[in-house]
C-alpha cells in the first residue's frame, strides 16, 4: 500500500508521517509540492507544519500549490486523503472538508496530550479503532479552534461528519465548537484532524494509539484497491 506524504516548504511533520506509515506496514512516498503527481500513492497525507510559512493565514497558500491539483483530482475520484494539523487547515482552506480553524481560544500556541473519543469507527480512517476506545494523542497548534455556524454544525452532526472529539479529563485545548477535533467530508473519503497520530505511533513515545489510525488507512487502502 503506497501512502504519499506531501512535502510543502515549511512542512515539519512530513518525516514523522512517513515513519508512521512505515510502522503501520505501508509503503511511504514523499510527494514534492511542485509536482502535480502522486507517484502511484493510493492514499495521501497532508502533514503538519507551517506550509509556505502559513503566511496570510494558516493553510491558505498551500491549496494553490501544484501538488494540490493532483490531490483534488485524487479526492474527486474517491481517493483517501488525511490532513493532520496544518494539513487539516489546508484541507479546510481548499474546501475539501467543512469548517474553519481559528486561533486557539487562549490566543496561544497549545501543545499538550489530549484524549479523543472516536465518534465513528466505520470510516476508512478509523476502522482499526475498537469501538468505545478513547485515543491519547498530542496537539501542537496555534490555530485549531474549529468553527462553523450553528446551523452548519447541526447539519455536520446530522450527516455524522464529526469523527473525533476532545474528551475528559484534559478536555478541549483550543475552544473548538462542540469539542470537534476532526471531521470527514460527505463522501467519507477526506478526513482532517488537529491532533497528531503520527507522533503517537510507538509506546516509547507515550502512546501507540495513533498507529490505529495509520493502520486503518493502510488496511482500508488495500481493501479499496482490491475492490
Amino acid at each position: 500500500m503506497r501512502v504519499g506524504v506531501v512535502v510543502f516548504p515549511g512542512s515539519n511533520c512530513d518525516r514523522d508521517a512517513l515513519h508512521a506509515v512505515e510502522l503501520a506496514g505501508g509503503e511511504p512516498v514523499a510527494l514534492w509540492h511542485e509536482e502535480p503527481d502522486l507517484h502511484g500513492a493510493q492514499v495521501v497525507i497532508l502533514p503538519g507544519g507551517f506550509a509556505y510559512g502559513d503566511y496570510l493565514r494558516a493553510g491558505v497558500l498551500a491549496r494553490f500549490s501544484p501538488v494540490m491539483s493532483a490531490v483534488r483530482d485524487h479526492a474527486a475520484r474517491g481517493g483517501l486523503v488525511l490532513g493532520i494539523c496544518n494539513g487539516f487547515q489546508v484541507l479546510a482552506e481548499a474546501g475539501l472538508v467543512p469548517g474553519a480553524l481559528l486561533r486557539n481560544a487562549s490566543l496561544r500556541f497549545e501543545h499538550r496530550w489530549v484524549r479523543l473519543t472516536v465518534e465513528r469507527t466505520d470510516t476508512p480512517f478509523t476502522r482499526a479503532v475498537p469501538p468505545g476506545m478513547t485515543l491519547r494523542l498530542p496537539v501542537a497548534h496555534g490555530e485549531g479552534n474549529f468553527f462553523l455556524p450553528e446551523d452548519q454544525l447541526d447539519a455536520l452532526e446530522a450527516r455524522r461528519g464529526v469523527v473525533f472529539r476532545y474528551a475528559a479529563p484534559e478536555g478541549n485545548p483550543n475552544g473548538s465548537a462542540r469539542d470537534i477535533a476532526g471531521v470527514i467530508d460527505a463522501r467519507g473519503t477526506v478526513c482532517g484532524l488537529m491532533p497528531h497520530p503520527e507522533r503517537a505511533a510507538e509506546p516509547l513515545l507515550g502512546s501507540a494509539d495513533g498507529l490505529l489510525l495509520m493502520r486503518s488507512l493502510v488496511g482500508s487502502g488495500l481493501a479499496s484497491a482490491a475492490a
Binding site: F50, F109, A140, G142, H196, E198, R199, L204, L205
Partner: protein
C-alpha cells in the same frame, strides 16, 4: 558671531572609531596590524569583529583554561558547536548560546533569533537539529515589565522552534530581582549527525567559490553584536530596537533542509552560518581557520534594500543566511539544491591564498580576480579580524561582601556546629506548599504548553520532570539533555555556583541512567572592565574547569556574555551549563516519578549541608551566618557512577536529583507526578529546615522494589556512597516524620495543633505546584 567663534563654540566632531565603539588604543592596535590607518569600511569591519561578542577579547585567555579533551570529542571549542561521537558512526552536536540584550530590547524577536542562531550553528556542523532547551532568567514575576518580557520571550522561543519543527524539550525558568533590567535568554540546541558528514566552518582551497545562500541582506541588525551585546544597558536601550535582528523561521526551515541536503550530497567543503557581524565574520573566520584569504565581490551580494553602503552590507546581521565554500565544478549543483528549496544562492567571492579579506566593488573576473576597473575597498589580514584580534588582560578584584566559601573537596564543619544559626520555628508542611508554589519551583506548564515538545516523533520525556530524553532512531539508545545554573549560590560565591551548576546538570543526566558525554557553557557576567564583575567571571571559569576535570567532562564550547548590567547593578553571576548524555538502553531509563506503592524510598549520597542560596533561604530570609552547602566533587562523581550503574542493572524504580527546594520538594515531586503518597522518617538535627529544604548537592531520592533494595545498597556501599532508607511509597499523603532533636520545644512555642511533621495530601501538593506560575504572572490558571 564670527566663523572663528563658531568653530570654537561647536563641539569637536566625535571620531568615527569612537562612534563605532572602538577605543583610541584599539584604533592604534588596528593601525599596527595594517601598517597604516584603516579606512572607514575597514574600521566598521574591525568594530564588529573586535566587539566583545565576536572577539572574546576579555575572556579568551581564560577560556583556554577549560578542559577541552575528552572521550569521543570530534569537534570542540572554537567550532560552531561541539561534536561528540556516540558510536555506530553517529555523533551528537550541541551548544548553548545567549541572546540576552536583544531579548531585553525586543523580547519576541530577540528570543526567536536566539533560537534561529543556535539552530544554524548546529546545522553547519552537518547535524540535523533535534532539540532545543531554553534557560530563561527574569526579574521578580509581580513586575509588569517582567511579565511583558516573559510573555514575549516565551512566545518568541516557541514561535521560532515550533515553526522550524524542532521540539523544545526542556530548560530552566528562574526569577530573581537582579535580572529585572537584563533578562537572560540562553538557548541550547542539540543535533544528531552521521560522523562522515561532519563539516567544518573553514574556507580551504584557494580558487574555491564562496557562496552566500538564504535571505537577502538588509539593514536589520546592523551592529547588533557590537552595539547590543557589548555594552551595558541604559535608558537609551529602547532606541536600539532597530539593531535587533528580525527572524523568519520559515526561511530558516528551508535553509536547514537545503544545508543538510548540500552536506549529505558532499557539495560543500566548508559551511558557516551568518550571525553577529554578518558577512565580515563569516568570511574572516572561515578564512582564518583554513589559513586562506577571501576576496568578496561586494556587488554580487543580494540586497533587500537599495542604497546600502558597503559597510552596511558587510556587517548586516540579517538572519537566515549561510556561507558555503564550494569547489567551482559544484557551484551549479549547489545552486540547483538551493533553487529546489526556493532559496537564492549567489557566488559572492573566492578563496585566495593571500590570507587577506578583501572587499571589491566592480566585480570579479572569471578566475576570481578583481575585474578591470574594479576598486578594492578594504584589505585586512583575516587573522587581524579573528585569531589575532586584540586581547585584554582584565583586572580582577573580589568584592568585599563576598564570603569565603568551602572549596570542593574540603570537608567543612557541619552547619549545626556553627554558632549563631537561628532556630527557625515553622510548620514544615506549610513551608513545603509555599515552596512548591514558588515561581522558581512550581509547574512550568504555562511555558511548556506553548512549546511543541513532540514534533520530530523522537521525544520520550520532555518538559518539567527533569532531563529530557530523546530516542535515537534505529538504535537502542537515548540522548538525555539538561541545562542548569546555580546563580543564587553564585551570587554568594561564583566559583562554587559554577562548579555546582556542572555537578547539578551532569547529575540531572545521570539520574536517568545516562552517561554524561560533555558540557557546553554559557557564561553571563557584568561589565568586564569592572574588576569585581571580571573576578566573578574568572571564578566561574575556575569552577567550571575544576568540576569538569573532576567529573571527566570535556567542555566542547559555549559562549560568553558580558555587560549584563543596568543602572541598578549587575545580574547574579550566571554560569549556565548544558549537558548531553547517552543512554545505552533507552528501555532502562529511570524517571523521577514514584512507580508503585510498597517501593522503598532512600536518599543516595551525602554532602555538607547549608541553606544560603536556597529557595527556602529566599522565603525565610537568609541569615548572615548561613553558608551555602559544600560541594565535594569526588562524592559527586561516585554518586553519579552509582546512579548510572544502578540504572543499567535495572535496580531503580525512580530517581530524582535533590536540588531546588531540597529533599522535601524532591520527595513531593515524586508524589505529585505519580499521584502516589509516601511515608517517611527523616533524622534531623537542630535545624530541620536544613534537612528538609537545604539544597546541598550530590544527592538523589531513589525508589526501588523491596527486592532490589539490598542489591542497590551493596552497589552504593561498594562505591562508598551512603544510602539511607527513608520509607515507602504508598497512601494518598506525603508524611515525613521528623526524628531527632528538632521537635523539642518547637511545637509548644507555636501553640498546640501545629504539627512538626510534614503531613499533606498529595492533591494539595499537586494544586500548589500547578497553580504557582499562572498566579505569579497574574494570568488566569
Amino acid at each position: 558671531m564670527t566663523a572663528v567663534q563658531a568653530a570654537v563654540a561647536a563641539p569637536p566632531p566625535i571620531p568615527l572609531h569612537r562612534l563605532l565603539g572602538l577605543t583610541d588604543d584599539e584604533l592604534a592596535a588596528i593601525g599596527a596590524r595594517l601598517g597604516r590607518a584603516p579606512n572607514d569600511l575597514e574600521l566598521a569591519m574591525f568594530s564588529v569583529m573586535w566587539s566583545e561578542h565576536c572577539s572574546y577579547k576579555s575572556s579568551r585567555p581564560w577560556l583556554r583554561r577549560l578542559p577541552g579533551a575528552g572521550r569521543g570529542v570530534v569537534a570542540g571549542q572554537g567550532e560552531n558547536a561541539g561534536v561528540i561521537s556516540i558510536g555506530d558512526g553517529l555523533a551528537v552536536a550541541f551548544k548553548l548560546e545567549s541572546h540576552n540584550h536583544p531579548s531585553a530590547v525586543e523580547p519576541y524577536q530577540g528570543a526567536a533569533t536566539g533560537v534561529g542562531g543556535i539552530l544554524r550553528d548546529i546545522c553547519t556542523m552537518g547535524a540535523r537539529p533535534i532539540a532545543v532547551l531554553d534557560a530563561l532568567k527574569f526579574g521578580a514575576p509581580d513586575d509588569e515589565q517582567t511579565r511583558h518580557l516573559v510573555r514575549g520571550v516565551v512566545r518568541g522561543v516557541g514561535g521560532y522552534g515550533n515553526c522550524v519543527g524542532v521540539p523544545t524539550v526542556g530548560g530552566e525558568l528562574v526569577f530573581d530581582p537582579s535580572y529585572r533590567d537584563n533578562p537572560l535568554v540562553n538557548v541550547m540546541a542539540v543535533g544528531l549527525l552521521e560522523e562522515r558528514h561532519l563539516t567544518r566552518a573553514a574556507a580551504p582551497g584557494p580558487g574555491n567559490a564562496v557562496v552566500l545562500f538564504g535571505s537577502a541582506t538588509g539593514r536589520d541588525g546592523i551592529g547588533g553584536a557590537s552595539v547590543l551585546a557589548s555594552a551595558t544597558f541604559d535608558e537609551t536601550s529602547a532606541a536600539k530596537r532597530p539593531t535587533v535582528q528580525v527572524g523568519d523561521p520559515f526561511a530558516e526551515k528551508l535553509l536547514i533542509e537545503a544545508s543538510l541536503e548540500l552536506i549529505a550530497a558532499g557539495l560543500v567543503d566548508g559551511l558557516q552560518d551568518l550571525g553577529a557581524a554578518g558577512i565580515t565574520c563569516a568570511v574572516s573566520e572561515t578564512a582564518d581557520r583554513a589559513g586562506t584569504g577571501i576576496v568578496v565581490d561586494l556587488d554580487a551580494i543580494p540586497r533587500r534594500e537599495t542604497g546600502m553602503t558597503p559597510a552596511e552590507v558587510m556587517i548586516s546581521e540579517s538572519q537566515e543566511r549561510m556561507l558555503a565554500i564550494v569547489r567551482p565544478a559544484r557551484v551549479a549543483e549547489v545552486a540547483a539544491v538551493c533553487r529546489r528549496w526556493g532559496i537564492t544562492a549567489t557566488v559572492i567571492g573566492r578563496v585566495t591564498d593571500d590570507g587577506a579579506i578583501r572587499v571589491v566593488a566592480g566585480g570579479l573576473d572569471g578566475s576570481g580576480r578583481p575585474a578591470a576597473g574594479a576598486a578594492e575597498l578594504a584589505r585586512i589580514p583575516a587573522a587581524a579580524l579573528t585569531s589575532d584580534a586584540i586581547v585584554y588582560q582584565r583586572e580582577t578584584r573580589p568584592p568585599v561582601h563576598e564570603r569565603g566559601a568551602p572549596a570542593p573537596g574540603v570537608r567543612q564543619e557541619l552547619i549545626e556546629s556553627e554558632p549563631g544559626l537561628p532556630e527557625r520555628g515553622m510548620d514544615p508542611g506549610a513551608v513545603l506548599l509555599a515552596l512548591l508554589g514558588h515561581p522558581n519551583l512550581c509547574s512550568r506548564a504555562w511555558v511548556t504548553t506553548q512549546y511543541d515538545e513532540t514534533v520530530g516523533a523522537d521525544t520520550v520525556e520532555a518538559g518539567e520532570h527533569g532531563a529530557a530524553v530523546l530516542r535515537v532512531r534505529g538504535t537502542p539508545w537515548g540522548l538525555v539533555m539538561a541545562t542548569d545554573a546555580c546563580a543564587a549560590v553564585a551570587a554568594l560565591d561564583p566559583y562554587l555556583g559554577a562548579a555546582m551548576a556542572v555537578a547539578e546538570c551532569t547529575r540531572n543526566v545521570a539520574v536517568t541512567g545516562a552517561r554524561p558525554l560533555g558540557v557546553t557553557d554559557c557564561l553571563n557576567y557584568g561589565d568586564p572592565g569592572r574588576p569585581e564583575a571580571f573576578w566573578a567571571f574568572t571564578e566561574a571559569i575556575r569552577g567550571v574547569a575544576d568540576a569538569c576535570r573532576a567529573l571527566e567532562m570535556p567542555v566542547t564550547g559555549g559562549n560568553v556574555s558580558f555587560y549584563n548590567e543596568s543602572a541598578r547593578g549587575a545580574i547574579a553571576p550566571t554560569a549556565q551549563i548544558g549537558v548531553v548524555g547517552l543512554l545505552e538502553d533507552i528501555d532502562r531509563r529511570v524517571g523521577p516519578v514514584f512507580r508503585s506503592a510498597g517501593d522503598v524510598i532512600g536518599l543516595l549520597g551525602s554532602t555538607t549541608p547549608g541553606l544560603a542560596g536556597s529557595v527556602y533561604a529566599g522565603l525565610a530570609g537568609a541569615s548572615l551566618d548561613d553558608r551555602p552547602p559544600g560541594l565535594d566533587l569526588a562524592r559527586e562523581r561516585d554518586l553519579q557512577a552509582v546512579l548510572i550503574e544502578a540504572a543499567a542493572q535495572g535496580l531503580l524504580a525512580s530517581a530524582q536529583d535533590v536540588s531546588g527546594g531540597g529533599l522535601a520538594v524532591a520527595l513531593a515531586e515524586g508524589c505529585i507526578w505519580s499521584g502516589l503518597g509516601a511515608q517517611l522518617d527523616l533524622a534531623v538535627g537542630s535545624t530541620p529546615a536544613l534537612e528538609l529544604f537545604g539544597e546541598a548537592p550530590s544527592r538523589a531520592v531513589v525508589s526501588t522494589t523491596p527486592k532490589a533494595w539490598e542489591r542497590l545498597a551493596d552497589l552504593a556501599a561498594g562505591r562508598g556512597v551512603p544510602l539511607e532508607r527513608m520509607g515507602r511509597v504508598g497512601g494518598d499523603r506525603l508524611r515525613i516524620r521528623l526524628i531527632g532533636l528538632a521537635a523539642t520545644g518547637a511545637a509548644e512555642e507555636r501553640g498546640a495543633g501545629v504539627a512538626d511533621d510534614v503531613d499533606v495530601p498529595v492533591g494539595a501538593l499537586q494544586h500548589a505546584w500547578a497553580a504557582g506560575l499562572p498566579r505569579a504572572l497574574g494570568e488566569a490558571a
